[in-house]
């Protein structure tokens, strides 16, 4: 049960700045997930917390103590690596016991701790095996077990599921969620590029981009109220449709006109003064439906591609800009064919508007 506070943290390699002033407040027992595109600095941030990278500027505090320069082993953290980093020449038992042996714990205590961890992770039959004799999922569990036995204040996970196949990934994801409960809600920091993992595991998500925090919030918050265009496009799959637009009217009855389309009524708080300014109009593919009458249509265009995935159908509709077709996510039984001209619509409450700098106008949330 520990807090982690990060204040104005910078990380530089020579002239290249990887992290550009990170501020984060991670609560005790929180499951915090860092997401972002590759190269955004999420792994570097995790490694700074672990002590594997030095911090160029700013402070890192665990439980209120600044630990910037403290050796990794004295920070009270445990880390699960992407490649598991199992010691290939040591048995499962020795892998899990290694840190405890270094702490010079008595043998019977080591045995008890490792035994208990192995029991909960269903690894007891494999304690004498070498890592190469284990399956991918078992190796993953050993890596987790190695973290558990140390009873750390903070667990760090660096993309721990990316080496597993799809089915195993789901199973292990659930395992990690259970682990969070079992460890009586130890603080966990988890890095991933997979938003499904982020959405399912996180209490709160940190979206990182180019060394900066774009938004911190609960999964639903990020989905429904993205703070900016980057988060809006990054969270949700397929990504949100965004079209350049002009604010027709702000104030009480805000209206926005996407370029090349008719103006639409939006449930978004746009100040009256924004009238006539450039903006970006956004709508998630899953919020679009095919309009029967066509009067309320937002977009109108020819269906370029139909992807039928069984439970749903994806439409790529050319609405005047062939380079960026509008995506619509329809039910699996939709009967639209390639070449059809369709009208797409969405309720005003489902629409997003971002100002010229990409910042979101607050949405009138009814969810």
């Amino acid at each position: 049960m520990s807090t982690v506070q990060i204040n104005g943290l910078h990380k530089r390699y020579g002239n290249v700045e990887i992290l550009k002033g990170i501020n984060l407040d991670i609560k005790s027992g929180e499951f915090m997930v860092f997401v972002g595109p590759s190269g955004c600095g999420k792994s570097t941030l995790l490694r700074c917390i672990a002590g594997l990278e030095t911090i160029s500027d700013g402070t890192l505090a665990i439980d209120g103590e600044v630990v910037n320069l403290r050796a990794p082993s004295r920070r009270g953290i445990a880390m699960v690596f992407q490649s598991y980093a199992l010691y290939p020449h040591m048995s499962v038992f020795d892998n899990m016991a290694y840190a405890l042996k270094l702490q010079k714990l008595p043998k019977d205590q080591i045995k008890a701790k490792v035994g208990a961890a192995a029991e909960t992770l269903r690894l007891t039959p494999y304690l004498d095996r070498l890592p190469k004799a284990l399956s991918g999922g078992q190796r993953q569990r050993v890596a987790i077990g190695r973290a558990i036995v140390r009873n750390p204040k903070v667990f760090l996970f660096d993309e721990p599921l990316s080496n597993l196949d799809a089915a195993l990934r789901v199973a292990t994801r659930i395992e990690i969620a259970k682990l969070h409960e079992r460890t009586s809600n130890a603080t966990m920091i988890y890095v991933t590029h997979d938003q499904v993992e982020a959405m399912t595991l996180a209490d709160r998500i940190v979206v990182l981009n180019a060394g900066r925090v774009e938004q911190v919030g609960s999964p639903m918050e990020l989905y429904h109220r993205p703070a900016n265009l980057f988060v809006a496009r990054f969270i949700g799959s397929p990504a949100m449709n965004t079209v350049p637009a002009i604010v027709e009217e702000g104030g009480a009855t805000p209206r926005v006109r996407p370029e090349g389309h008719n103006a639409v009524r939006v449930d978004v708080a746009i100040p009256a003064g924004a009238k006539g300014q450039k903006a970006t109009f956004g709508v998630r593919p899953e919020d679009l439906t095919v309009s029967q009458g066509g009067n309320d249509a937002i977009f109108r265009g020819k269906v370029e591609i139909v992807e039928q995935l069984g439970e749903l159908t994806l439409l790529y509709v050319d609405c005047g800009n062939p380079a960026e077709p509008v995506l619509a996510k329809l039910p699996g039984d939709a009967t639209v064919k390639r070449g059809d001209v369709v009208a797409l619509t969405a309720p005003p409450s489902a629409l997003h508007v971002f100002d010229a700098d990409g910042k979101a106008y607050a949405r009138d949330m009814k969810h």
Partner: protein, 398 residues
């Protein structure tokens, strides 16, 4: 159109080979070419090995490739004196055997009155004018000199003959060369030089390689560059100053400049650049996350090195050990300079060079001695080829 018309029948007439046939011919050529290379590369050594177990006399007069055929050696013997003649069927006869009592499976190929004459008279034939009689020699060595008149030669005339002896293989050459020629002592000397000089650099190099691969410190790049540069520095640059140094140290402490300790240390130093380079490359290739995990688990660098890197680097350590052992075992120059060529401590290579000088024509000794010296590296090589190849691949600067 006209060119096509004239060309076509020619092409048909030649019945161009189908691709399949061409591939077949190519295959056979490839097999033959490779076979030729293998033959060229193995026969020299095979010749050495075969020669080393041949009978000394046979080796001196016939090529090793004929060693399975009987060899013909020139010899001479005297026939019995005229006083021993008897009368048979009205003729005066002297009888006997050219081999004397012990024929040991030898056989006579040809004989004659002079050395040059031997090939002219095969066994069983007769020379008509041999000291006033006609001489017949059988392949068994039995001879008969007969004459219608009484034989009146003086003394015991010589008969020259070619003896065919059956191929004979023996380990006598090895016995001679190991004991009498001192190869045995040199074998021990070579081992004495090689064992410590192989083991000592491993540990020193492994620690340095770890530091260069996994520790960050100012000057690291310079040290790596230094090691790479020293990889190719000719030994010749080191010899004179080191000899000076050794002499001074020996003078100061009153010991001897040349000795095993000096060679061990010299070989250790000369092996270090390759050792560090090889091990550093290997260690740098170990997964970074394992080192980091050990760090998070609380392992110091020393602990990480002993409990992670050392066991995981075993293949590289083995590669280097093989290299170093072979290099020391085969070295001539360093041992010559720092140990000397004295009889009691000269190494195998040095002893062989001495043999080449003093016994240049005694191929039975040279071949046996050489084989004693190459049997150890060849055994090591064939047993541990995998590590050797791996080390070679890692060690060549790429």
């Amino acid at each position: 159109m006209s060119t096509i018309a004239t060309d076509a029948p020619v092409a048909l007439g030649q019945a161009a080979p189908t691709p399949r046939q061409r591939i077949k011919v190519g295959r056979i050529l490839a097999h033959l070419a490779l076979l030729l290379f293998v033959a060229l590369w193995t026969f020299p050594t095979v010749g050495l090995l075969v020669s080393s177990v041949r009978d000394r006399d046979q080796l001196a007069i016939s090529g090793w490739w004929t060693s399975l055929a009987p060899s013909v050696r020139l010899s001479a013997a005297r026939i019995g004196p005229a006083s021993g003649q008897t009368q048979e069927d009205g003729k005066y006869v002297v009888k006997g055997n050219l081999f004397g009592a012990d024929a040991r499976g030898l056989s006579i190929e040809g004989f004659g009155a002079t050395n040059a004459d031997v090939r002219a008279h095969p066994a069983g034939s007769t020379i008509d004018d041999f000291n006033g009689g006609s001489l017949t020699v059988q392949s068994t060595g039995d001879y008969t000199l007969s004459s219608p008149t009484q034989l009146a030669y003086s003394g015991q005339p010589r008969v020259y003959f070619g003896v065919g002896s059956p191929p004979r293989f023996t380990f006598e050459n090895y016995r001679d060369v190991l004991a009498a020629e001192g190869i045995g002592q040199s074998f021990i000397n070579s081992l004495t030089v090689a064992i410590p000089a192989t083991v000592i650099p491993i540990m020193i190099a492994a620690f340095a390689a770890y530091a260069l691969a996994w520790m960050r410190f100012p000057g690291r790049g310079f040290v790596v560059a230094l090691v790479v540069g020293l990889l190719v520095v000719p030994l010749q640059m080191s010899l004179i100053p080191l000899l000076f140094l050794y002499n001074q140290i020996a003078h100061f402490f009153g010991g001897e400049a040349k000795g095993y300790v000096g060679v061990w240390l010299a070989h250790t130093a000369f092996g270090l650049p390759l050792a560090i380079y090889l091990l550093r490359n290997y260690m740098a290739g170990l997964p970074r996350e394992i080192m980091e995990s050990a760090r998070v688990d609380g392992a110091s660098h020393f602990k990480t090195f002993t409990s992670m890197v050392l066991p995981l680097s075993f293949p590289a350590l083995a590669s280097f050990a093989i290299f170093q052992f072979l290099w020391i075992w085969n070295d001539l120059l360093v041992a010559l300079v720092f140990l000397g060529a004295q009889n009691d401590r000269v190494v195998l290579t040095g002893r062989l060079v001495n043999l080449l000088g003093t016994r240049g024509d005694h191929w039975e000794l040279l071949t046996a001695g050489a084989f004693v010296s190459i049997v150890v590296p060849l055994t090591v090589f064939f047993a541990l080829q995998r590590y050797f190849v791996r080390g070679l691949l890692a060690g060549s600067v790429k």
